[in-house]
Assembly symmetry: C2
Homo-oligomer: 264 residues x 2
């Protein structure tokens, strides 16, 4: 498989899908049919996944597709060429905010992440990477992340994990909230991951993500030196749900040692 | 004073200031001089406030100006025509994210909010209102907020207030986090207020804001039916710091009664 050709094809269908979503997504339509907003996003989510499946099958029917909406086949291994697709990450943002939702795609070849994409549909902003060749934000290369002290860091974390919960020691999260420069929460894992790989955040943590939430992002992460693992510091399982942290390499270990500590 | 003329003038200087900030704010400059990023934002903050002061004085020297950077005169009353200006709200976002920072302006005549503006500088998105005539998001009218149930609400709140703190009962905030559809945190009060008046969030709370953080937003709030008060449910004091909540009218009282409860 020619990686450059695959990259050009992936970008072309991402841009086309984005354009279709922006067209389908009429501001007035969402406003007028508030009760129907959830149906609308579900429909656009499914239609977008089907659009990707049709295009990819026409491009090369041997490629496998693992999608959030489950419209592709059952994927039980990462053998061969596998696309992991989230057609709309941030559906609540889609419904209420009409912004801050992403198309996220990772392409794996025999289990190795080769191409990663996070596309901010409304801004038409593309974060992407080609394994071994680098990462880009639109036309600008993304640089390797420079080190940051925990006191200067801005962390993406949901308010749930600052409260008592069954996943992580919330007292340690409180310590972190008090220690760092600031926290943010955007309601889209792909958006927060895109912000970490481009230095707009220094880390992002989540208690339960699916492969399609992070597949694209982890491939970009590798190119800029961001460290992406589960909360035990191990590689994320791309066939199942798992905990997740992506961080600037200078604070990844410190976050897991001191602040983001799972119960089991 | 002709309000339409004042509105046209205010918009013209906001757009010009935005253009100047985008020019001054070279992506490469910020990246190359990371240690100097704080100085850079301070300089641009001050220059922008001075730009507004010069333009307003040339327009009508009788207008008073209360600005975050304190480059205007000491304003001790809201008599006459008073501009309350935050040249850059969200300075940490400015430095790290190169987005999500706002120009916020409110114009008061004898203590009554008449014109309000929140301008997302990088998106070139303007939220604004003319008292008694309505509110707009760019060219589109903003509608009166429709009611929302607390279970469906998305709330802007900083993670600090979910942890034990000396301002509000954090156990009640935890109840809220568990009850609502979601929470968000963007690091710019003006951005979160703009999101509430346009229905992208259903409420936003803060423990300490200054007049320039909210002056523009509260004038827009009034036109769309959002309720803006301090955490005791009283009008915000526009000459001092105060606590703050802005909410969809259907949940403002419930939030203050059950979830956002100050100690004293």
């Amino acid at each position: 498989m020619d990686i450059q050709q695959l990259d050009q094809f992936a970008k072309s269908i991402i841009f086309e899908a984005g354009s279709r979503i922006r067209q389908a997504f009429s501001y007035n339509l969402v406003i007028e049919t508030k009760s129907g907003a959830n149906d609308l996003v579900t429909n656009i989510d499914r239609e977008t996944e089907l659009f990707f499946i049709d295009k990819i099958r026409a491009f090369d029917p041997s490629h496998k597709i693992l999608g959030e909406e489950g419209m592709g086949e059952q994927v039980e291994s990462l053998d061969g060429i596998v696309w992991i697709i989230d057609p709309i990450d941030g559906t609540m943002n889609f419904v209420k905010q009409h912004r801050h939702f992403m198309i996220s795609i990772g392409i794996f070849i025999n289990g190795i992440g080769k191409l990663g994409y996070i596309f901010d549909v409304m801004r038409e902003d593309l974060f992407y990477a080609i394994a071994g060749e680098g990462a880009w934000y639109n036309e600008s290369p993304l640089r390797k992340l420079t080190s940051v002290k925990i006191e200067e860091a801005v962390i993406g974390i949901n308010a749930h994990w600052v409260a008592p919960n069954r996943h992580i020691h919330h007292e340690k999260v409180i310590d972190m909230v008090r220690k760092v420069r600031g926290t943010r929460s955007y309601g889209s894992a792909a958006m927060e991951i895109a912000f970490v790989v481009s230095g707009k955040l220094d880390a992002y943590v989540s208690m339960r993500l699916s492969p399609w939430d992070i597949a694209g992002g982890t491939i970009i992460a590798h190119e800029v030196g961001a460290v992406a693992t589960n909360l035990h510091g191990e590689g994320f399982d791309f066939l199942h749900q798992d905990t997740f942290i992506i961080a600037n390499p200078s604070i990844h270990k410190e976050l897991l040692d001191k602040y983001i500590v799972p119960y089991e």
